[in-house]
């Protein structure tokens, strides 16, 4: 934004064209290029400095380990287990969160009644409930689903709640004067209005829900990809640990990217851009 060319070369000269071309080329492909450079530099550093595999395995070693792990069936099964818990908890959490958010956001009495609890829920990381959930439900699927459900429903509720409060009052008045009843107002005015924030809630929920799954799995070392990471770490198998971590990073980036697209799709009609 601030690097408008300080020196103007004469327009059309070969030098200026070359400069412009190289600048746009560098800028356009710098992202991919920097990842490639990063990987190559990593490989070179590990090889030339002979860094212990335990501390930092080379990318090529990690790639080989990835193939081996997926061949042995340590990868896809556990990944499915983790994603299953995430999906189940997410669906339940979104349904309950949207309902609660609309309910509390619509009634100012209910909101002032729940205010101290909303503050507590807003401030406290939801994974702080993980030890309690593990006491209640153990380490298996139910515990993971419940913790995902808790964190997703809370974050969706908080976001929907804020958004319901901003619904344009004149829209509701117009709907009413055209004879809409309560149900019509909820389904035809409020729901479309808060759809983008529901999508924002889902995106945030996926992030927090994934953390919840991983916390339970890494804590208990039972089931799912988090447990595989934990086991690899406990047996000092660094290449394997890096391979699993790589998979986790790719999966979480893909999930976030998907939910961002969904969010953009749903909020096409809005102009605001969301930070956070």
């Amino acid at each position: 934004m601030m690097d408008s060319p300080a020196v103007q070369y004469p327009v059309g000269s070969r030098l200026s064209r070359l400069l412009v071309w190289s600048r746009t080329f560098v800028v356009r492909y710098a992202g991919i290029g920097s990842v490639m450079v990063f990987l190559v530099a990593w490989e070179l550093v590990v090889r030339t400095l002979r860094i212990n595999e335990l501390l930092l395995p080379a990318p090529s070693r990690i790639a080989m380990e990835l193939v081996e792990v997926s061949g042995k069936g340590f990868l896809w099964g556990p990944l499915g287990e983790s994603l299953e818990a995430l999906a189940l908890g997410l669906v339940m959490g979104v349904v309950v969160g949207v309902g609660l958010g609309m309910l509390i956001g619509a009634s100012s009495r209910l909101e002032s009644l729940t205010m101290p609890y909303l503050w507590a829920l807003r401030a406290t990381p939801r994974i702080a409930l993980a030890p309690l959930v593990m006491i209640w439900l153990g380490f298996r699927l139910e515990a993971k689903v419940f913790l995902v459900f808790l964190s997703v429903s809370i974050i969706v509720m908080l976001i929907v709640l804020e958004s319901v409060k901003t619904v344009d009052g004149s829209l509701i008045r117009v709907a009413r004067s055209f004879g809409a009843n309560r149900k019509d107002i909820v389904t035809k005015v409020i729901t479309p209005y808060i759809l983008p924030s529901i999508a924002t809630g889902i995106r945030n929920g996926i992030g927090f829900g994934f953390v919840s799954v991983l916390v339970v799995e890494m804590f208990s070392a039972v089931g799912g990809l988090g447990a595989q990471v934990r086991r690899a770490r406990d047996s000092y198998d660094s290449p394997r640990m890096f391979a699993f971590i790589l998979v986790l990073i790719v999966v979480s980036l893909a999930l976030i990217n998907l939910s961002r697209r969904f969010e953009a799709h749903v909020s096409r009609w809005r102009e605001e851009a969301y930070v956070a």
Partner: protein, 280 residues
């Protein structure tokens, strides 16, 4: 999000009642809240006492309070709380010192933006808990690992918010400054930084909340002291009342952090419009 001037239910309540004296209303809101919380505790006590749910699953509220005083007497509550607060403070300070210059550099220099922002966005989007094993590998199972985790959480959230904010600086201001012969450094010093101060406030708040998660996760998995460790230790021994007691302390700490961050944000965006009612 469009900003409503009434952020919290308390303010809304005050607005509806019509604030004759601000202090009086504040006292009133506080009293309502106190009654509300007391009723909650009372109902909890009744339910736990008479519903037949075993105390391992749902301890009585009174035994949770007893546990608080017992932990204080054993001398394990305050030192652990202090350890958490200190780690959080150090991590946050390092995060600010590293994150702010980084954010401005990435926001202002386009090549740096292209090279670094994929990593920053990646760090911002991936759950930091994934990186925990790596941090433990490199920093050891030490106090430093907990602080590094906090820094790794604070820096990207601060940087992402601020560097996106730098891009929204009003271009006509920049043009005007350039017309009057401002150097790049002067542009940064007199235009970009002042107009992004409210965004820095938002970034600090997001960083603080994410840092809190990192603190908790770090204590759950890495260190043997701190609030999270205390909770994990109690949970592993099925001392549920103690888990709840520590959770109460942690909630109080978190609410204090959130209130502080909102205060900072409001102060930093004083000269602009009211802060948006963001949720997280």
């Amino acid at each position: 999000m469009s900003s409503s001037p009434l952020n919290t239910a308390g303010e809304r309540l005050r607005y509806r009642v019509g604030s004759r004296s601000k202090v009086g209303e504040r006292v009133r809101v506080f009293l309502v809240m106190l009654v509300n919380l007391t009723c909650f505790a009372f109902l909890w006590e009744l339910f736990a006492r008479y519903s037949g749910v075993p105390p391992v699953f749902l301890p009585r509220f009174s035994s949770i309070l007893q546990e608080l005083s017992r932990m204080t007497a054993e001398g394990i509550l305050l030192p652990n709380l202090w350890s958490s607060v200190r780690a959080f403070g150090i991590g946050l300070a390092i995060g600010l010192v590293v994150g702010l210059p980084l954010a401005y550099a990435v926001g202002v220099i386009r090549l740096l933006d292209r090279v670094l922002s994929p990593y920053l966005w990646g760090l911002f989007s991936t759950p930091r808990i994934i990186l925990l094993p790596l941090i433990m590998l490199w920093a050891g199972i030490t106090d430093a690992a907990r602080i590094v985790l906090i820094v790794v959480s604070v820096v990207p959230s601060l940087a992402v918010v601020v560097m996106e904010g730098v891009k929204t600086v009003d271009p006509s201001l920049l043009r005007a400054a350039r017309v009057f012969g401002a150097s790049k450094f002067q542009l940064l010093r007199h235009v970009v930084i002042p107009s992004t101060i409210p965004i820095v406030g938002t970034g600090i708040r997001m960083g603080m909340l994410r840092g809190l998660i990192a603190l908790y996760v770090g204590e759950l998995f890495v260190t043997s002291h701190g609030i999270g460790a205390l909770m994990a230790y109690a949970a592993a021994r099925f001392r549920t009342a103690r888990v709840f007691a520590v959770l109460l302390v942690f909630i109080a700490f978190s609410v204090a952090v959130l209130a502080t961050s909102r205060f900072v944000e409001a102060r930093m965006s004083k000269w602009r419009a009211a802060p948006e009612p963001l949720v997280i």
